[in-house]
């Protein structure tokens, strides 16, 4: 079966998306690094990279819209372009979360990062994003399912941070600004995992043509995973 230029174009758009995901993930990891080391220069670079991510996101969306208008794709070509547009949006939002994290930098530091295990939590969320993109590249439904299941792990970590913060708040002399910053960072990482899950669900649509986002089955599986 011959690949026509139009299909080469879809491949190129997919490759641009993968490159964008790598940039977003690196920036996110750098944000955690900047907070740990209180590195202002690093923090400035993260903002600059986020500007690049925003520009790339707009550019990729424009390319996809032009493709839809000019090529009028159908079937898996249509699903691929729609999926790229949606993942593109999720990646841009993850990029914003990295900037939100460094905005909380003044109240945080290495001791806080260790106390609340943010490197591990961030590592799990980043791995979910990486796997969801890998699932997109390889049209890998089982891997997408795995990402969806991992979301509960990050949710549990977030609940644990919440619990710890609540306990510290009850004690005298707690640093409210710092605790609010801790809650925010935990929430940002948890949202990143949510975006990874959304990407995985979009990959399931790409592979099967079924929109499972709000399906009963997904809900049941979620309930089951909570029980397990």
């Amino acid at each position: 079966m011959s690949e026509r230029p139009v299909h080469e174009h879809i491949k190129e758009l997919s490759e641009v998306l993968v490159q964008l995901s790598e940039k977003v993930l690196t920036n996110f990891k750098d944000a955690l690094h900047a907070v740990r080391h209180q590195d202002l220069q690093f923090a400035r670079r993260i903002r600059a990279v986020d500007d690049e991510i925003n520009a790339a996101e707009v550019h990729l969306e424009e390319q996809c819209l032009a493709f839809l208008a000019l090529q009028q794709p159908v079937a898996r070509d249509l699903r691929t372009i729609v999926t790229i547009v949606k993942i593109n949006d999720d990646l841009e939002r993850i990029g914003d979360l990295a900037v939100h994290i460094i905005e909380r930098m003044p109240e945080l530091g290495a001791d806080i990062m260790d106390r609340y295990d943010f490197d591990r939590m961030g590592g799990v969320a980043a791995e979910m994003v990486r796997k969801s993109i890998e699932a997109f590249v390889n049209r890998d439904r089982p891997l997408a399912d795995e990402v969806c299941q991992s979301d509960e792990m990050v949710d549990a970590m977030h609940r644990m941070v919440f619990k710890k913060v609540a306990e510290v708040m009850k004690s005298d002399g707690s640093n409210t600004d710092q605790l609010l910053a801790v809650l925010s960072v935990s929430r940002y990482i948890e949202r990143m995992a949510d975006h990874a899950t959304r990407i995985a669900l979009e990959v399931i649509y790409l592979v099967t043509g079924e929109i499972v986002r709000h399906s009963e089955d997904t809900f049941e599986k979620l309930i089951q995973s909570l029980r397990d």
């Binding site: 079966m1 026509r4 299909h7 079937a75 699903r79 043509g209």
Partner: protein, 284 residues
């Protein structure tokens, strides 16, 4: 003769799938429609030894638009033309299996072909008005079927031209030669001529392939106007046209009906890989 679902090969998957979810807001369910109007069961068409349409089983649902797509030589026009027995004019053409229209055998011994073609009208790729006045073009069919009264004929001509969305453009020159109309107008005139004998089914064989985009849009709008009143089948090479105008799509390949599904399903998640390869242009 009324055929049972089993005898007509009623495709339950297609029947069940007269689907709210697949119909965009402007394409609501047709009231009183959705029953098999044409039913093929193991239906084959041969040109001599060559089997051009191979054992097709399908239901064409009433008052919906069904598009037939497929590469050249796949049998789509042959299948369309077999529905009102236009293929009878081709020497050595014969059929096997069953093809039913409203429960009657299209190829039955006692079927009246003239009456059949009155009920199942056809419009061709190239507009083919008679070299007569616009009025006489439309009145030709009704006259052939015995309508003589001038007032009645005038009523039929106006109604048919209005239904074909061309009345406003020709009402003040009905006595002029139809060959003086533009290509798009001629094609709508041909639709009006077909409607004049009150058919139930319209067969359109690539009706816009000789027209410019503006005339094409008018024909597509017309198909939407007529949908809900007539069962429409359209053969087209234009994928976008099939996806724009039809409720159901049949994909033929080498005489075989590969897939028959709601159009929105077929163009977003076709079940057959061959369909997917064809509509995405990956065909080799």
């Amino acid at each position: 003769m009324q055929l049972s679902a089993e005898a007509t090969g009623t495709s339950q998957s297609v029947k069940k799938a007269v689907p709210d979810i697949y119909l965009p807001p402007e394409r609501k369910k047709v009231s009183g429609g959705g029953v098999p109007h044409v039913a093929a069961k193991n239906f084959s068409v041969y040109y001599g030894e060559f089997e051009a349409v191979k054992k097709v089983s399908a239901d064409i649902l009433s008052r919906y638009v069904t598009a037939i797509i497929g590469p050249s030589g796949c049998g789509k026009s042959t299948f369309l033309r077999s529905i009102n027995r236009m293929n009878d004019l081709i020497p050595n053409c014969h059929t096997t299996g069953a093809l039913m229209f409203d429960g009657e055998d299209v190829y039955g011994k006692f079927t009246d072909e003239v009456l059949l073609r009155k009920k199942i009208g056809m419009v061709f790729q190239k507009p083919n008005p008679f070299p007569k006045s616009i009025f006489d073009n439309i009145a030709y069919g009704p006259r052939l079927h015995g309508v003589k009264d001038r007032k009645t004929l005038e009523g039929i001509v106006e109604t048919s031209l209005r239904k074909a969305a061309i009345w406003d453009e020709v009402c003040d020159r009905l006595d002029k030669n139809a060959l003086g109309l533009s290509g798009g107008q001629q094609q709508r005139l041909c639709v009006a001529r077909t409607l004049a004998v009150e058919p139930e089914i319209l067969l359109l064989d690539e009706p816009t392939s000789a027209l410019d985009p503006k005339a094409t849009a008018k024909i597509e709008d017309l198909i939407q106007e007529l949908r809900g009143t007539y069962t429409i089948m359209i053969v087209t090479h234009n994928m976008q046209q099939a996806s724009r105008v039809s409720d159901f799509t049949m994909f033929f390949y080498e005489g075989v009906l590969v897939e028959h599904a709601p159009t929105a399903q077929l163009f977003t998640r076709p079940k057959d890989k061959m369909t997917e390869d064809y509509i995405t242009g990956r065909f080799s």
